[in-house]
Symmetry: C2
Subunit: 231 residues, 2 copies
Amino acid sequence: MENGVRFTGCTISNHQCLCYEKLTKEEHDFLNANSVWIKYKRGEMICKQGSFVSHVMYMEHGLAKVFVESGSNALVLRIIPDGNFLGLAAISEQQTTFPYSGMAYVDSEIRQVDIKAFRQLLRQNTEFATEVINIMSANSVQLYGRFFCLTYKQAFGRLADILLCLTDRVFKNSEFNLPLTRKELGELAGMSPETVIRMLKEFSEDRVIRMEGKSIEVLDYNKLKQISDTG
Amino acid sequence: MENGVRFTGCTISNHQCLCYEKLTKEEHDFLNANSVWIKYKRGEMICKQGSFVSHVMYMEHGLAKVFVESGSNALVLRIIPDGNFLGLAAISEQQTTFPYSGMAYVDSEIRQVDIKAFRQLLRQNTEFATEVINIMSANSVQLYGRFFCLTYKQAFGRLADILLCLTDRVFKNSEFNLPLTRKELGELAGMSPETVIRMLKEFSEDRVIRMEGKSIEVLDYNKLKQISDTG
DNA sequence: TTAATAGACTGATCCGAATCAATGTTTTTC
DNA sequence: GAAAAACATTGATTCGGATCAGTCTATTAA
């Protein structure tokens, strides 16, 4: 691949969120005093595109998608596992409304931090601000790759990307029980549910994966990588 | 449109870059002492995806594209007019190489700021850091819209977006002399050069635009907006 | 327990836009 | 100023994947 860069449609930023470690004890207490923790059930909306921003959201544990929608189309920007922010666009003073929606894939617990408190920490603790910049930067780079793949890769390459992302980053296991419908998988890979089904079937027939209802096992990891590269 | 959000494939972030105004006189001098100004001709590479990052780039005057590439495919992330950074991904300590390339559309002058000096200013001046966060945030939001459009809109809608972006934001005039080839226009709108030509011809026949070689005039702005919305 | 509904799957059809091929036109280059 | 190269244009063809329609299956609700 050219320029040492290999793009994938992977939906998870590979940045380890370290910003809380940059806070002093007092700042940490201040943060907690200005936080609430909310539980969401699978399918519940965590934030809604276009609504007013009043807080920053952090995934304590669970799994969620962050997506933009218009009409009947939805595009998943990224998926949020434990220990990540559901996007940080909200920290800009100019951004008064959410530019995306968030929805829980599984039962999840979210920490909401008051936006004013968060911004105050950004102003008073430079290390913290720098770390937040690092996170935003990593998110952007991840999105570039995903953007490229959804624009130029063919369907099977995009689906391979998502399967790799799920094994490598989300479930960290070659076998997993998918908490997503075929339609949701389609939103991730940028294709219709029917195409998802056909592609998965094809992967099964080629012994690249084994599939049984919601359970998926990656049998031939390298082949999947190859499909991702050439697709 | 739902949720008060209207996506366009527009390539320019609508954020006014204010971060230099946040600097003190001394910091400004420090910045200048750590800057060099470089002139690029049309078509010259300003930065190359995958190469080491040593500086932040700021467009003093000119026009450039920032794009990702792999194999023979290129995807324009955004275009950079006067007074904007060519992406800020470089300011993250984790990001040692450029995640994208930059190329001058027209003869341009770029200010290069030493990355260490820039990071120092980020650490010492919180207002400056906050403003940089605002810029990154605006860039992200702009990219979400562009991502959505290139994924879901049809070719004529995407091309309408680009034409609107060129009139409204780049040239700020309903008539302009396009410094881009059809191929470059295609990279912007995410389609092949042939499709660009066919669509432009169709727009001309429908009296939405007037076209004469490199010169384009938008005749029916509202129709173009409508095509952008429904496409 | 049954009805209702959402999701999974299959096959047939259609369409948007890429690709290919060929020609005309403009811009560079020597 | 001629040759070469890059770009613009047009038409024909192909194909990936969406859409549509229908069946089957698994949840969920009454």
